[in-house]
Every structure is written in C-alpha cells, then in structure tokens.
Amino acid sequence: MSNTSMPAPEAGYTGYIDGEHHHDMEGDTVFGFWIYILSDCILFASIFATYAVLRGNFVDAPLASELFELDYVAMETALLLLSSFTFGMAMLGANDNDRKQLYLWLGITFALGAGFLIMEIKEFIHLTHVGASPWSSGAWSGFYGLIGTHGLHVFAGMCWLVAIFYHLHRDGITTQNRTRLMCLSLFWHFLDIIWICVFSVVYLMEMV
C-alpha cells in the first residue's frame, strides 16, 4: 500500500539493539528494586503510625523521657549517617573499577553498620533491664516494634554486604555485580532516611 521508500538499513543492522537491550534489563532491575523500597516505606509508615498512636500509653512502665539518652542516640545516628556516606564512596570506587577503593569503603560501611547494630542491641538490653521491656506497655511495644524493624533491616543489609563481598571476590566488578551494588546502595541510603524519621519522631520528640 505504502509507496514511501524507506532508507536502506545500515550495514550490520539486525533489527535488535543488543547493547541497549542488556542495558535496559539492568535499569529495570534497579527500578524494580526501587518499587520494593517504596513498598518498604509503606511498611515503615504503618509501624510509625502504630507507634504514634501508642506513644503515650506507658501504664506502669517507666517513661521514655526518663530513659532515653540523647548523646547515645547521637552516636548511633553518626555511625549510620557516616555509613551512608562511605557506601557512596564505595559506589564511586565501583564506577572507577577501583577494586581496592571499593573493598575498603564497603569494609568501613560494614563496620559502621555493625557498630550501629551493637549499640542498638545494647540499648535494648539496658532498657529491658530497667523495666522498659517490649511487653511492659503499649508505648514500649511500639518503640521496640519500630526500632527493631529498622534494626532487622540493617542486619539484612549487612548479610547482603557479605554476599556482595563474595560475588565481587568471585567475579570482580562485572555489570551484574554493579547492579547488585546499586540495589544495595539504594537500600542502605533508604535505611539512613528511615533513621532520620526515627530519631526525629521517637527520640527527639519524646525528649523535647
């Protein structure tokens, strides 16, 4: 029907865009992971809402404002914030194909994450000892539910870091490993963003 003439295809034209195809897959993986992170936001929003509703209900348990130590929380915050930064530096190492820099910064990130988690567990043990256990009151249940979920995410991120170390060790900085690193970096920065909300809404608002 059509009598418009098409220009002849270039030599080597196959109808497929090979490089681009692979590339899109990679982008889709990261985008899919982004959707997961957003759904995780909804999980955290539900737990935040629960905490907000329960926050005044201490019954006979000690009050949060009597037990929170803000300098301790500031230390935890510093560890997590720095780890977000060091993960960014690790990504720059990955972009430059600089394996040494990548390993170094990922190692520091892992150590900071571990430090954060240890501080959080110590805080939980201390609070439980002085009577503010998860089962003592609604407000403390909300507190442990929220902070504990965040802590579990950090723990999951650290397990994932170990897995990535293994993949990097086995295959080097491949396209696939880059995608994995990209997803984990999104996850790690996301945890830092959740922590901003946690220290603002839970610790600072309780002490103000």
């Binding site: 490089g19 590339h23 990679e26 982008g27 889709d28 990261v30 985008f31 982004w34 959707i35 957003l38 759904s39 936001c41 909804i42 929003a45 539900s46 935040f48 809402a49 629960t50 907000a52 509703v53 803000l70 300098d71 500031a74 915050t77 510093a78 914030l81 720095l82 977000s84 930064f85 960014g88 530096m89 990504m91 720059l92 972009n95 880059r178 990209m182 999104l186 920065h189 830092d192 963003i193 901003i196 909300c197 220290f199 603002s200 809404v201 600072l204 608002m205 002490m207 103000v208």
Partner: protein, 110 residues
C-alpha cells in the same frame, strides 16, 4: 558504555556531591539534637525545628546520596515516590486522626 546516565534511579554522583550531602546532613542532625539537649529553647520552636530539619535532611539525602533529580529518565522513580508519599500521609495522618477520635469518644462518654 553510557552507563552512568540512563539507568533508572541509578545515576552516579561525585566525591564532592557526597561530601556536600554529608556536611548538610551533619548540620541538619546536629541542630535539632543541640536544641533538644540544651533544653533552653522554646518548646514550639524546637518541635518546628525538628520537623523542618528532618524533612530537609530526607530531601538532602534523596538529592545528594540517591541522586534524584528532574532528569526525564527518572520520571518513573519520581512519580512512584510521590504516589507512596501520598499513601504514607494518608496512612499516618489517618491512623492518628481515627484513633484520637476514638480515644476522645471512649474517655468522654456522652
């Protein structure tokens, strides 16, 4: 490979960008902590500062650490994020509102 610009949510930063992000985050964390810990600021002012700093820091981290910007490849990232922000707002504000109403009716009786 053109690797750095076309992935969804995956454009890469620079050292400078990360350092600026880190410094801004430290400032936006230190200010509310300082105000609460010193305890000699007006309560309302402190609460407003806490919320403004928190929102500002979330935005700082989205821009400097997650590299969100208004590039067209990021359109889907941003549209989905806005959708979730709306959902989160409904969830949190709605929960507090409903529960407060219920508490009010339970305690006061008629």
């Amino acid at each position: 490979m053109g690797h750095s610009t076309t992935e969804h949510g995956a454009s890469h930063g620079s050292v400078g960008e990360y350092i600026v992000g880190l410094l801004l985050s430290i400032g936006l964390t230190a200010l509310p902590f300082f105000m609460v810990m010193s305890g000699d600021f007006d309560r309302t002012l402190t609460i407003i500062t806490i919320f403004v700093c928190a929102v500002a820091q979330v935005l700082v981290q989205l821009v400097f650490f997650l590299h969100m910007n208004n590039a067209s490849e990021q359109w889907w990232n941003i549209i989905t994020a806005i959708f979730v922000v709306v959902l989160v707002a409904i969830l949190i504000v709605g929960s507090i509102w409903v529960m407060q109403n219920m508490n009010h009716n339970m305690l006061m009786g008629h």
